[in-house]
């Protein structure tokens, strides 16, 4: 077999070809594709659009405020009695839960209410006509 030597051979070309007018077309295509670096012109219309958006935002806001006020002023305020009744009759909180929630301070606060002097009790008992009734009950 004959040894192949590159330098002894006539120059071997790649054999790659291109479509007709490829390079002319490529130049034209490339020139169009280049990112334009010219300063951007902002048309009057575009500015008007911004103003329109701003105006729309103001109108929406203006309409929202009365609606907001309407809903919040009409929300019924719950009075203490209703709240107490609710807790007493509908709540799933048991007495034990309540006890657990109270700390030493709370208990001391409550005990103050019952700190009545003996004399006051005596007085109360002596002036109270229904005393017998209480005892009987």
């Amino acid at each position: 077999m004959k040894t192949f030597k590159l330098e002894n051979e006539p120059k071997i070309k790649t054999g790659f070809t291109t479509p007709e007018n490829y390079f002319d077309d490529f130049s034209a295509k490339m020139m169009q594709q280049l990112p334009k670096k010219e300063p951007k012109l902002i048309s009057l219309f575009a500015r008007k659009k911004t103003w329109m958006y701003a105006a729309a935002a103001v109108v929406v806001l203006a309409l929202t405020i009365p609606v907001y006020n309407y809903f919040y002023s009409n929300s019924p305020e719950i009075d203490d009695v209703t709240l107490e009744n609710y807790i007493t009759y509908h709540s799933t909180v048991s007495d034990e839960d309540l006890v657990n929630l109270l700390d030493e301070k709370d208990i001391q606060k409550m005990s103050v209410d019952f700190n009545i002097e003996d004399k006051t009790i005596e007085n109360e008992l002596s002036t109270n006509n229904n005393l017998e009734q209480y005892i009987l009950n």
Binding site: M1, L6, K13, T14, F16, F23, S27
Partner: protein, 180 residues
């Protein structure tokens, strides 16, 4: 070099930019196309990569520091773009770069933009077997007929190392063509 600096200024100046870029395209599109085509083989792929290359050149021109020649800077961008393109294409097809290249060479006969004979196809098959760097060096020296100094500036490899690589590449190619 002074002339090149002025040309770069023209490319950066919005007033002269279009004209300068047209000149750049006229001068470099053919050699850069050939360089890219030799790497990616397929014409449509080369067209894509060439477009990306010029877009990048345009984008990064203001960062071009003039340390190397515009010519080698553009070749460097083209080489990187072409190699990245190949590895991305291989990844997309779920094959290795070598497999992809072999497949492309096998399809050459059917390629409408290839007009070559058996020896040309055999040479391409021999090149694909070389390591990537040797492939590049061989193609740039043998097909594109670039000078060692130019290749050195583009690839950042010393002239001595390039000569050695080219010599190895030629030996391997000759061995392949002789036995196949």
């Amino acid at each position: 070099m002074q002339e090149e600096k002025e040309f770069i200024q023209e490319l950066l100046n919005p007033k002269t930019q279009n004209q300068a870029f047209e000149k750049l395209l006229k001068e470099y599109q053919k050699p850069l196309y050939n360089h890219i085509r030799n790497i990616v083989i397929d014409h449509d792929d080369a067209d894509d990569v060439l477009q990306n290359t010029f877009v990048k050149v345009f984008q990064y021109l203001n960062r071009f520091k003039g340390e190397s020649k515009l010519f080698s800077w553009m070749y460097r961008i083209a080489t990187n773009e072409a190699l990245t393109f190949l590895s991305q294409k291989a990844k997309k097809n779920g094959v290795s770069s070598e497999t992809l290249q072999n497949k492309t060479i096998d399809n050459l006969k059917a390629d409408v933009y290839f007009d070559g004979n058996e020896i040309q196809i055999k040479l391409q098959k021999a090149i694909v077997l070389l390591p990537e760097k040797q492939q590049l060096i061989f193609k740039m020296k043998y097909f594109e007929e670039l000078k060692y100094e130019e290749i050195s500036e583009i690839l950042g490899t010393s002239v001595g190392a390039l000569k050695a690589s080219y010599h190895h590449a030629v030996k391997k190619i000759e061995a392949f063509v002789t036995t196949n």
